[in-house]
């Protein structure tokens, strides 16, 4: 079954890329290679530089792929593997990839300006301001959700934090070799990869055991320091090592899924409303968008596509492979996650003494998973089992599990400190109105350290005190809300600027907006009251964020409807 689904996934993605994707390219975007892209027209050798399609694809994919497409599908397995896969594939092909492609191409036709700028131009100026607020909330919730993921992983598999610490040391050494010693890049890379392997091996023999709260305190200081030190000291060499881990993990995973020939032990379908978020019955529609989140579509991608990728697109026809294709590749990663958990998750939980069967899966999966292999640990353990079931079984299972754990932990940790860098910036922008009348308060709040501490403190506090099955959907709401706004902006661009058939953009955009709005309402009315009872500060903080985002969401849709048919200059 594992092999059949991998092959089916490849066929589905390939066929729809060639048909639906091409239709978008010719009828909606009307890609035209005779129009010079900003990379050529505005070439400056730094930001606007044309890049070959495979290189730009690699750049774009490395920027959009992270830990989130792994964690969402693990949780969504509560509905069974068919509903999980259906949303990954459907959301990916008809919404997520369309969103990424339109954001990229709208930006290309707007001289490489961001989707935030395009929204301000085509809808209203205040949409641009909404983006800052939404991104700021999203960043806080990212710190909370990813902090909770890391806390769970570090406690559940103590080999991962020690391997990670060794990896940081390896990254620091690599930084010195590359920038101080000025060693040949290839030689430094070889040394870096050897050090990475050594870190994984040392991690496996020297696990570090600490409580979850201890890890949260360490994480808090780590992200403050990591987001303040120069990028070439830690962030850059570490990210370089991460990208090797990503490719290694993806290649091994794809080979293992293709050759494992293993049946699925998880049920195909459990119930329309199994227990997922906050111990409540969670309806597939609308909640699936909050749970799978980036596994099928992500609002961050519109910013990545319109931020750096659009300034490097060599010709318009490359946009489909990069904008649409990279998102499908990320969906393939989520497919691998569903396959590994569906094939191996049940046995792993039973081996840990969980009372779970295919019959009681709907009510027990989330609880059993959180107790035995919480969050991403379920993926790393089943991934290791999947690799062990193939001819790759000469690699010790524990080592594979640590590699997969390092893969997820590295991306989650990178996300934490880079989120904090971005949080500092958005917070300063949000505080700008204070500058004219309260300059002292503005200067204090936007001080480098204060602006770093505020998002980190709120995020880590939420992770410390909150329930993961509440935090993850909260992160999902902010992320999917940005995606919905970006997709509506994309459809406004199609209708107003392209003057082409906008139904390919408008139908998924409205579908997403309605689904996300319904999901936020359901989450705030049904799930959050329980969370407020259990922990008032955390519950109310999340509720306040949700309510503000919901208001912004309605402000946006009113603006959108009002301005979508207005002619543009």
């Amino acid at each position: 079954m594992t092999t059949i689904i991998v092959v089916l996934g490849i066929v589905v993605y390939f066929v729809l890329y060639k048909t639906y994707g091409k239709k978008l390219e010719t009828e909606v975007v009307k890609a035209d290679n005779s129009i010079e892209t900003p990379a050529a027209r505005m070439y400056d050798g730094v930001d606007y530089v044309p890049a070959k399609a495979p290189v730009l694809f690699g750049h774009h994919f490395a920027s959009i792929a992270g830990a989130a497409p792994i964690i969402g599908p693990v949780l969504a397995m509560a509905w069974g593997w068919v509903p999980a896969l259906l949303w990954v594939w459907f959301g990916n092909i008809f919404i997520g990839a369309v969103h990424d492609y339109l954001a990229l191409m709208a930006s290309v036709r707007y001289d490489g300006k961001s989707i935030q700028f395009v929204a301000s131009d085509l809808i209203t100026k205040r949409t641009g301001v909404l983006f800052y607020w939404l991104v700021f909330f999203l960043l806080i919730l990212v710190i909370a959700a990813f902090g909770a993921v890391l806390g769970g992983m570090f406690v559940g598999t103590p080999e991962i934090p020690s391997a990670y610490i060794m990896k940081i040391i390896a990254a620091l050494i690599l930084g010195v070799l590359m920038y101080r010693v000025k060693m040949n890049f290839t030689l430094a890379t070889v040394i870096g990869i050897i050090l990475l392997a050594l870190a994984i091996w040392l991690g496996s023999i020297l696990p570090i055991t600490a409580s979850k709260n201890t890890w949260y305190v360490i994480m808090f200081f780590y992200i403050i320091i990591a987001s303040a030190i120069p990028v070439n000291v830690l962030l850059q060499p570490r990210d370089y090592l991460n990208s090797w881990l990503l490719y290694f993990g993806l290649i091994i995973g794809a080979i293992a899924a293709l050759f494992s020939f293993h049946g699925f032990t998880a049920p195909a379908f459990t119930s329309f409303a199994p227990i997922v978020s906050g111990g409540k019955a969670t309806p597939y529609w609308p909640a699936i968008v909050l749970i799978i989140a980036c596994g099928s579509l992500s609002g961050f991608h519109s910013l990545v596509g319109s931020g750096t990728t659009s300034k490097q697109l060599e010709k318009e026809s490359d946009g489909l492979a990069i904008g649409y294709g990279a998102m499908l590749t990320e969906g393939f990663l989520s497919t691998l996650v569903v396959i590994s958990v569906a094939g191996f998750g049940l046995n792993l939980m039973v081996d840990k003494g969980m009372d779970i069967t295919t019959a009681n899966w709907a009510t027990t999966y989330t609880g059993a998973m959180m107790k035995s292999y919480p969050k991403a640990a379920m993926f790393t353990a089943s991934y290791a089992q999947m690799v062990a079931s193939t001819w790759l079984n000469f690699i010790p299972t524990k080592i594979v599990q640590i590699i997969a754990g390092m893969w997820v932990a590295s991306f989650a940790m990178t996300t934490l400190d880079t989120t904090n860098r971005l949080g500092r910036y958005t917070f300063s922008e949000i505080m700008l109105p204070l500058k004219s009348n309260h300059e002292g308060a503005y200067n204090f709040l936007t001080n480098r350290w204060i602006a770093s501490i505020i998002p980190a403190l709120i995020g880590i506090y939420l992770a410390w005190s909150g329930n993961f099955t509440i935090l993850w959907p909260s992160f999902g709401t902010a992320n999917q809300l940005i995606a919905s706004i970006a997709l509506l902006t994309g459809s406004a661009w199609v209708a107003k600027r392209q003057k082409s058939t906008s139904k390919f953009a408008l139908i998924p955009a409205y579908l997403l907006w309605i689904t996300v709005t319904a999901a936020i309402l359901w989450f705030s009315i049904v799930v959050l009251p329980g969370s407020i009872k259990a922990n008032p500060v955390t519950g109310i903080t999340v509720l306040v964020i949700e309510v503000i985002m919901l208001i912004m969401n309605f402000v946006f849709i009113i603006d959108f409807i009002k301005h979508k048919d207005e002619a543009v200059a």
Partner: protein
């Protein structure tokens, strides 16, 4: 057939290596760009009322700065639109 496959594999690996290097260098480039902005501002800031270096230095450098002035203009136009660029550079997701 085998030769074609080998060439494809070689291209893929070298492409992957190139992407890694580019990706790793991107963030340093961002910082370098900021320093460059300050440098350009120092040299051409008198246009916007910022004290410039002595006139004879500026006059001597000006002909060499046509490309920089064009880039500076482009950057000034984009200076309020950096959120997306930062998101693209810093891997978040």
């Amino acid at each position: 057939m085998l030769t074609k496959l080998w060439t494809y594999l070689k291209d893929f690996i070298s492409g992957m290596d190139y992407v890694h290097r580019e990706k790793a260098a991107g963030i340093t480039q961002w910082e370098e760009k900021e320093l460059e902005n300050i440098f350009i501002l120092l040299l051409t800031g008198s246009f916007s009322g910022i004290p410039a270096p002595p006139a004879f230095v500026a006059a001597e450098l000006l002909p060499l700065l046509s490309r920089e002035i064009k880039i500076f203009n482009q950057r000034a136009e984009n200076s309020f639109d950096t959120l997306a660029e930062m998101t693209g550079l810093l891997d978040i997701d």
